[in-house]
């Protein structure tokens, strides 16, 4: 895809080309500041790309950005959860923007990530790990094909990380693909998993 990306002064991504197939995950174990987040945001369309194109299903994403967005799920450092809302409300409002969902689907998703009912606790009072699980539940509810995850397992305990890996594995087995930036590799089934240690590999 020949991505050139500038982040302010630094020529962050210099002619990077990257291909991601269905059911495939690519984990970016790049050193800090090597442009992991910039790449994710560039692919998501949040960051303008100086030159080069992002193609999804063969078509340039900028031609029909709305369709690309409906297939896309982006999880950044900040989880876009509202502290004053309960977990269920957060999901209802954020997932509701994209698709019709009902309360049953929401509580089902929350249970799937290990959050026991009742879900009436304000997100503010949940632990960081639990909040991330709510974000994971939202990810599942979006059921987008392409997952762009920016350090999904940050500040999670071992059990949490296993859960994240399991959710991603399930997503991959359903034919979805994932681009993940992470510090320490996530234990994913080898069949789907590609690791990359520095941007130069794709130059």
């Amino acid at each position: 895809m020949g991505l050139h990306l500038w982040r302010g002064e630094r020529h962050v991504l210099n002619g990077l080309s990257l291909r991601l197939g269905a059911g495939e995950a690519l984990q970016l174990l790049w050193p800090n500041g090597a442009g992991k987040t910039s790449l994710l945001r560039g692919v998501a369309g949040l960051l303008p790309i100086e030159s080069g194109t992002v193609r999804w299903k063969g078509a340039d994403t900028s031609t029909d950005y709305a369709a690309y967005c409906s297939d896309l799920a982006y999880l950044g450092h900040d989880l876009a959860l509202k502290g004053d809302l309960t977990a269920a409300e957060n999901l209802r409002y954020s997932v509701g923007l994209r698709r019709q969902i009902d309360a049953a689907a929401i509580s089902g998703a929350l249970q799937a990530v290990g959050l026991t009912a009742p879900h009436d606790e304000l997100v503010r009072r949940l632990s960081a790990g639990q909040q991330r699980r709510v974000a994971l539940a939202r990810l599942a509810l979006w059921d987008a094909q392409l997952w762009l995850l920016d350090e999904p397992a940050a500040n999670l305990d071992a059990a949490g990380q296993a859960q994240v890996a399991e959710a991603i594995a399930a997503h991959l087995s359903r034919g979805g693909s994932a681009l993940i930036s992470t510090h320490q590799g996530l234990p994913l089934p080898a069949a789907f998993n590609r690791l990359s240690h520095s941007p130069q590999e794709f130059a």
Partner: protein, 228 residues
């Protein structure tokens, strides 16, 4: 597997979310209205309490106070959603970003602009306006506060990522709000004098409609740039 959400539904969800959020933390949203009342109260203290003379100043005082408190209220519009990533998810939701921001501005108006327009007649009476002028003042400020919120949305979008963007925000928004101020103050002055205020009100309404159609596009572009 499921039908994508319609844009109308998305907008109503945003409104519901903002209203529930506001009711969970009521104090915050009343600050702009309190500021508005305080500022209008300052005029009689600073000038002279004689009602007949105050009446001449009432329109100007009301509208300057309305302008300032609506700029102050812009703090609540994008800043929090920008910081916690919600705006990013709006941009990536597949819905039209301008439409979602219009819904966001509408909920912001409901929580800050509307109370302002309701409080204005009270403040006007305090400044010597006759009771007969209240409907005129209410209509003028309802229209005016809508266009102020819309212009404010552009300014807030532009200064979203900027630390201490408050002063810059007012430098950007206030010059743009001059037409609203001129027509609004004129409409209020005519309402107070009992004359039919149709002409300035139509101009004010035109400004508001113009704002509703174009401002969200500019605000969407501004926020998208600030989110980079």
């Amino acid at each position: 597997m499921s039908r994508p959400a319609s844009s109308l539904r998305a907008a109503s969800l945003i409104l519901q979310r903002d209203l529930t959020l506001a009711f969970r933390r009521p104090g915050e949203w009343l600050q702009p209205v309190a500021f508005f009342l305080i500022v209008t109260m300052l005029f009689p203290l600073a000038l002279d309490p004689e009602l007949s003379r105050l009446r001449a100043l009432a329109p100007g005082a009301l509208w300057v106070a309305a302008l300032l408190s609506s700029v102050l209220a812009l703090e609540f519009l994008f800043r929090e959603d920008g910081r916690d990533g919600t705006l990013e998810q709006f941009a990536l939701s597949g819905q039209s970003f301008a439409w979602l921001l219009l819904a966001k501005t509408a909920s912001h108006w409901l929580l800050t602009g509307l109370p302002l327009a309701i409080a204005a007649p009270l403040a006007a009476v305090g400044l010597g306006a006759p009771a007969s002028a209240i409907p005129g003042i209410l209509v003028a400020l309802l229209l005016g506060s809508v266009s102020l919120s819309l212009l404010g949305a552009i300014g807030a979008g532009l200064t979203l990522g900027i630390r201490r963007g408050g002063a810059l925000l007012s430098l950007l928004v206030l010059p743009l709000a001059i037409p609203t101020l001129v027509f609004g103050a004129r409409a209020t002055a005519m309402a107070i004098q009992g004359e039919p205020a149709a002409a300035p009100l139509y101009l004010l309404a035109a400004l508001t409609v113009f704002g509703i159609t174009l401002a969200p596009l500019a605000a969407a572009a501004a926020v998208r740039i600030s989110l980079e």
